[in-house]
Every structure is written in C-alpha cells, then in structure tokens.
Symmetry: D2
Subunit: 296 residues, 4 copies
C-alpha cells in the first residue's frame, strides 16, 4: 500500500519504520531534515511538504504531531492536507489532542469526502519501536475495519472507541485517571512508610486489596519495590512528567468545554505543574512521589 | 479454645459466630442486650462486662469496636481489659482506628505482659458472614503465628504487616488510595461519557490500560457497566460513603501526626464530606459519581 | 470624536450609551438587530458590519465581545477590523479574554500601524450603566494617555497595567483571587456557624482581623449578615456564578500556558463547575456558600 | 488582683509581664526553670506546680499552653487545676485549641463552680510584648465583663464571641481563611508576574479591587512589594509556617467533628504540610509563595 507519513519524532519515526517493515511503500515528511534522512535510508521516499504527500498518490496518510495547533495547521486551510488530498484517501491522525479539535478536523475531512480516524496511542517509545502500541480509535466502524491492517503493523491492541473524537476521549479519560492514581499511590506509599511500614510489604497488601491499580502493581513509584521500573533507576526513561502534565491539561480543557467538574483531575494537573516548575519535568511521571518524601 | 469477644455489631456478631462454628468456647459482651442474646442463643456465654470476660478465664480476647475512644476506654485504665487480664492472655483488636492509638494500647498491653495484635479487617459484612475477611495484622511475628488459627476461622487472607500498629497503617493507606481511586474513576467515567463515549466501551479500555484499578474493573461506579455491584442497584448495600469518610479522616489524621502531606487524600475526604452533608452518607461509596453526573 | 462600537450586549450597550451622552458621534454594530435599533434610537448611526465601521471614518473603535474566538474573528484575517482600518485608528478591546490572545491581536494591530489597548472592565452591568466601571488597561503609556478621556466617559477608575495584555493579566489574577476568597469566606462562615457562632458576630471578627477581605466585608455570602448584597435577596443579581467560572477558566488556561501552578485557583474553578452542573450557574457567585450549608 | 499564670513561653512570658506592669500580684508556673526565673526577677512569685497556684489564693488563673492535650492535662483530673481551685476562681485559657476540647474543659469548670473563658489571641509575639493582642473570648457575657479589665492589660481588642468555645471557633475560622487567602494571593501574584506584570502594579490593582484582602494589602508575600513585611526580609520573623499549619489542622479537625466540608481549607493545610516537609516550617507563613516561583 502507498502510505504517506507526516511527523517523524520520537514516536513517529519508529512507527513509520514498522510500516516499511510490513512492506508498505512510504513517502515521509518532517520539518527535521535529519529525521527524514534516517527514514529515507531505511527505504522511504522523501516528500518536500505535506502537500507533496497529498498530491503524490498516497492511498492513506498517517500524521503524528505534537499538539492540536500543529494538527489543525497541517490538515485545515486552503493549503491543508484535506484540501490537497484526493477524496477517499484515508487520513489517520495518531497525535494526542483534545476531542473537540479532533472532531473539527474529522468534520472537515468528511465534507471533503475523506474518511478520517483519530487514533492516539499508548505504549511509549518502547511500544512504538516494538510495534506493540495500543491504538484508541475514533471514527466509523467501516473506516475502522479498513484501517485495522495498517494500524496492526504498528500496534498490538487496536480498539474501536466509537465515533470521531472518541479515540481522544478514551485517551484523555484513561490518562487523567492514570495521573490521579499515580499521585494517589505516591501519597499512600509515602504515608504508610512514614508511619513505619516496609514499602514492599505495603505494596504487597495494596496489590491484593481494593487499592490495587496499575500504578501500584505494575509501575510502583516507591524506589526498590519493583525491578525494571523507572523508580528503580532514578526515574529515568518511561513516560515523562511533562507528558503527563500535557495530558492532564487536555483532560481539564476537555472537561471545561464539556462543563464537567474534575476536582482530582485538576488538582493532579497542578501538582505536576508544581513539580515541573521545580525543574523535574524530564523525570518519569512516577517521580511525583518525590513531592511526598524527605530527601535522604 | 476459650475466647472472649467484645463488640457484637454488624461486623462483630458474624465474626463471633464463625468462632463458635469453628468449635471455640465463647464468652461475649456488648452494650446491646439484643446483640448478646442472639449470640447466646447460638451457644455463647453471656458476660456482664469487659472485666468479667478478662476475669473469666479467656485465653484470648477479640474486640471489634467503632472508634479509637471506645478502644482506649475498653483497654486502658484501672478497670480496663489490660489491667484486669491475666498476663499472657492474647489481645486482638479488630477495630479500625488510627495507628498511633493502636500503638499506645499495644504498648500498655506489652508492659502488662500481654501479647497484643491490631488486626483491622476488610471485606465488609458479607465477608464477615462468609468468613472470608482479610485481616491486616500488626504485632510480633511470634504473636502473629499464635493468632493465625483463630483469625483463620474468621477470614481467608491473614497478612502480617509488621510491628504493632502496622495493621492499621496498611488499612488506612489502602483505603485512602481506594477513596482517591473511586473518585478518580468517577471523574474519568463521567468525563468520558459526557464527551460522547459509551460507558461500557470506556470501562473496557480503562480496564486493559494504565488506568486499570479495582474501582474500575471490580466495582465500577457508573450505572449499568457491571452487574452485581452497588451502581447497578441504586447504590444500596456495599461499603457506605460515611464509612469511607471515616477511613479518609483516619488517614488524614495519621498524616497530620506523621507530618506527611496527602493532597488528593485530603481532597477526597472533603468531597465525601460534602456528599454526606447533602444527605448521601448512607449510600455505597461508589455513589460519589453522582457528584459528577446530571440527574436525569 | 467619531467612535465605532462593536458588541452591544448587557455590558456594551450601556457603555455605548455613555459615549453618546459624553457627546461623541457613534456608529454601532451588533449581530442582534434589536440591540442596534435601541442604540440608533438614542442617536447612534447603524453600521452593517465591522468592516463598515472600519471603513466609515471612525477615529477610534471599541469592542466588547463574549470570548477570545469572537475577538480574533472580528479583528484578524483579511476581512478583519485591523486589515480594514486606516492605520493610526485606535483600537480598544474591552472584552475579557486570555492575555495570550490579547497579545496576539495587539501584535497584529501594531504591524498594521494601529495603536491598540486591551481594557477589560470590572463593575458589572450596574457600573456600566452608571459609568463607574474600572478599566484595567494594557498597552503603551502614550496610547493609554490618548485613550483615557474616552474611557473616562464610561468608567471612574482607569488603571494602566503595563504593556499589551497586562489589562487581561490584572483581571484574571484579581478575579482568580476573588473566586478563591469567596469560597474561602464561604467555608469559614459555614464552619464557624456550624460550630455554634452567630454569623454577624463571626463576620465582625473576620472583618477586623487577618481574614478581612472584600468577599467578607463588602459582599458577605452568608444570608442576613449584610443588607444590599445578593446573599440577602436569594442570590439574584450581582456577578453570576457562570461568569466567575469563565474567569477562573481563563486564569487556569493562562497559568497552563505560563507553566505556573495554581492549586487553589484550579480547585476553585472545579467547585464552581460542580455548582454549575447542579443548575446553579445563574445565581450570584456568592451563592457558592450553598455547597457548604444544609438546606433548611 | 492576685493572679496565677501558667505557661511562660514566647507568648505567655510577655503577657505575664504586662499583668505585672498593670500592678497585679502574680504567681507563675512553667516547666522551664529559666522562664520562671525571668518572671520572678520581674516581680512575680514562683509556684512549684499548677496545684500550688490553685491552692495559693489566686483569684483568677490564666493559662497559655501549646495544644489541647496540655490544656486537658493541666485542667482536668483529680490533680487538675479545676479540682484544686476554690469554686468561683475565674479560669481563662488563652491557648489556641479546638473548640470541642475548649467546651469540654469549660463544662468541667462549670460543674465545679468555676467561671471559665476561652480566650485565644492573635497578634503574635510583637503584640504580646506591646500589649496590643486581640482576644477572641468565649463564655457568658457576665464572665466576659468581669475578665475584661484583666485582658485589657494584655491586649487592645477584646471581643466577645459568644458562649464557651466560641473564642476558639472565631480563631480557627479566621485563621483558616487567612491561610487560604495567603495562598490565593501567592498564586495570583506569581501568576500575574509570570505573565509579565510588575508586582507593585499588580498589588496596587488587587488592593483597590475585589481581590483586596489583608494578605495582599497588609502582608503581601511578594518580595519588594511592601516594606516592613517578612517578604522583604527573607521571610524571617512574623507568623511561622508551622504555626499556620497547626491552625489549619485545628480547623480541619473541627470541621470533621462538625461534619462540615472545607475543600480549600483542607488543601491549604496540605500545601503548608508539603512546604514544611521540604524544611520550610520555620519561615514566615507568607513564604508559601516560594512554592509558586522559580528560584533565581
């Protein structure tokens, strides 16, 4: 299949490589020449602009961009991807953006005759490289069916979440809960240990009780409780605090537009913002437990 | 074994019954005559006071009381259970109280020569009746070993949490996290649904993603997502909101004494307090999602 | 002076009337024909579009619009007010919007040669009618000097806050603090009264102590403490809860862009959002105390 | 008048000195021998115990103690001040404690025939030395009248707050609001400055607008905005963060017992607890703004 790919950053580059490996023919674009060169070396064709990709015969175009303004700027307008694409070229945006923006872009695509899916991912750069990402996909069931083989070349778990924008809804709802849980686990672990408990014993009890959650049993933030998690290697690697901060910002923004209160979600965002202000935005998001422990 | 049992409320009565069923000889006390009569009918012996139990030859005494002031009043002082007990009678307090009070009572017991365990439970009245409670036990490893057969008559999961008070620490830490998680799930589910997602689809995604937690996959608060949970029967039964409020109060009180911040924990307590002020304290604690949804 | 006025809502209409009263020649535009007709009856000239105002010889144009998207849509683009205005026509936007949008529009004006001020107001519809508004003005000192006589026809307190956008900064910072203070006073009054104090006595003490603030001494939310405030007439009139919610949303949005934490500000926003969800958005913002008191 | 004084700490010692200066005859007790010696040098009589003061003919006894457990231990029990005092000796407790404990002690005094007042102060060590404290007094109007001349020797503003415990209610309600306001001002000032405003200009606008409050116009936390406040001398002196933390703890504890939600109050407590955990408890409470500013 002839596929265009726009956005070759930490996530986009390995995703594009997996499409190449699956035998697809790829034309790629990124503002970074180095990123493009690396893909070209792997067998992709260079495109000089998003418009060139749209005009170059791609049957399907994937985008992976930093935030909603980039997505709108690439897709919309007289020079945008939608205007320059042949109708019926399928458009798949894998960026994580707010659901309202995703729906605005999808509506523009629909009125131009282009099937479109929002398909944000989880799984991090590791999952992107290994081709084990989870895709949360919004759009019609028919378009979801059509896109599944392509997405399956990049991920393992491809979930249809409902109509346009619902991929983004699933992602912001899940990640808001994740941010709340991680802070909750941090408070519970730090409290229990300061009251005299052994951290491994406490984690063991929580993990078999009603406090059980992914942040405690798979990604515990207390140093030394689990091997092979960021907490056991100085909070390097993993999912950065500033990325969690971005997702919490998307959640509270979506909640504002939906006129929906999110008390813990908003407080979680502010706690991560305070952590970032102190210069910790580059640490894994489980490092938030440092806000609750005395430095030794 | 000759066992004394003090406190025959919703939890204590079925626990005492399970000790009888296991073949132990029981003498019981409660301020409610009806509660005592019911146990006596089942084969227990009536005692007229805690002192009578202590003086009546019990080898082990179990207490199940509402709060720390009751525990202190029963155990401490010249007329207290400790002063009136033969040294080496084992004392097991199953009440949920703050760790500091638990340690104060355990220290008094130790100086009188009595082995003592704090052993708060989880599992609710259903678990108490079925004998499937979880016991979180604080005290020495030796005393834990001695008490295990007795506790096993009332519960399924008997966990040693470390020294005196640590049973209470485990319980307040776990339940604080549970309260945070339940509100977090409520916010995430209500947000996702208000943004257009189907609640079962959203729960399915969360339950296989990083937002996964007991409050979402075992006790989901959104009506209709799961069968056989309080959310699907008008939030009746289960673990009452005012009991969650009590446990969050114990957690923030313990955090204050430990000089430990708990931002989400404290906010969770206040959210449940506001819910209780509106007259909802008797509903199951998953009903907190009503704070986030429009009444239809 | 020949002045254009765009946006004749609850605030804009009385502001425009005051400009007429001060002897200025006015051309006006609004999407509502009724709003325009009412001003025309008072002596203004009708314009058929913002472009007509820009092209009609106005020396100065005032806008009073609901939110940032309206402001951008009116000012920017090929058909926008800036593109259609003679260079050196002064532009004054009195809308309350986020500082970043205000600066974006001011920069566009500057590059077209138009002096521009952001001048959000406080004082409500009463102050707009009486001509006693406070204007918080961002822009150069020279432009501030030039605009002052015009603003003085609509307000009493005209404050220069610094460069472009700083009028909006002052407003969002002040109003975020106001929202926090009003909830703080509500919590303190409700707590004190539930603990047995007379509300007037408590207010008297707070107002002469370190808790003193505008929300307590000028606009007390507890019913019966002060005359002539919304709390003493069922929370009608005044500054609506949904307007406070909008301003708190602007504050947290600006904080997000500035990467600045605002824990109490974000929680205040969510508390007002919950209040609005329950159908109370139309009540005066001091009605938030209802979240803290038992209905009698 | 023959007065007993128990508790000669940072506040108690200068208060006792002012009673001496006013011509009263004083017998004093403190656990610290140095504190007693200093008062004896100034003309007071040494007492060896609280009981000695009660038995020594004092017509009125003032206590100034750190927390509720000390107050209960001094007043209650067979050896307590109440049991050892002649009926009709007036007892005045100036400690800051929770209203429930104050009422418990006052009830014990009443049943022994002793008039009692709770009379916590504000004004700090400076006000204690200068005799300009504010006394918030709970108890009967008659007893308040009788005590007023004695309190007037130590303070300037003597306010009757209603029945027993209401002095404490007024203090916890006011100080909870103060903690909220100080954090609110810190968030608003830090946000405004990070968005580009001059701090003095912003404070000037807030102080003449609806955000006006004591924390902004009398004790502004932003360095350089006001002279002669802790913010302009490295946050030394003033009212320590750990004292604010104690008062917020009293407020949330009282709220828990009154079953009253205090969302911002509880969050303020946790923010100060986090600040204290980082080692800042000894700084003035306006230093909380450091949580919101980048260290230069």
């Amino acid at each position: 299949m002839k596929i265009g790919f726009i956005g070759l950053g930490n996530m986009g580059a390995p995703m594009a490589l997996n499409l190449l490996k699956a035998g697809h023919q790829l034309s790629v674009f990124d503002l970074s020449e180095a990123a493009v060169a690396s893909l070209v070396e792997a067998g992709a064709e260079r495109a000089d602009s998003p418009q060139a990709i749209a005009g170059g015969g791609a049957e399907l175009i994937v985008t992976m961009l930093p935030a909603a303004p980039h997505v709108k700027s690439v897709y919309l307008g007289d020079e945008g991807l939608i205007a320059c694409s042949r109708p019926d070229v399928m458009l798949i945006d894998c960026s994580t953006i707010d659901p309202y923006s995703a729906r605005e872009v999808a509506a523009a695509a629909a009125s131009h005759g282009n099937p479109m899916l929002d398909a944000p991912v989880s799984g991090g750069t590791g999952g992107a490289a290994a081709g084990t990402l989870t895709f949360m996909v919004g759009g019609s069931a028919e378009h979801f069916q059509q896109a599944q083989p392509v997405l399956a070349a990049m991920g393992k778990n491809i979930v249809h979440c409902g109509d346009s924008g619902n991929g983004q809804v699933a992602k912001v709802a899940n990640n808001m809960l994740l941010g709340i849980s991680m802070i909750g686990v941090s408070e519970a672990m730090a409290l229990g240990v300061s009251l005299g408990m052994d951290p491994k014993t406490l984690a063991g009890i929580i993990n078999t009780s009603s406090g059980r959650c992914w942040s405690a049993d798979t990604y515990n933030p207390f140093p030394g409780v689990m091997d092979n998690v960021p907490a056991s290697r100085g909070y390097s690697g993993g999912f950065g605090s500033d990325l969690m901060l971005k997702d919490l910002g998307l959640a509270t923004e979506a909640a504002k537009l939906a006129r929906q209160p999110v008390l813990l979600g908003a407080l979680a965002q502010q706690i991560y913002q305070g952590f970032s202000l102190q210069g910790n935005g580059g640490l894994d998001f489980s490092a938030i437990i440092k806000q609750y422990t005395r430095e030794s």
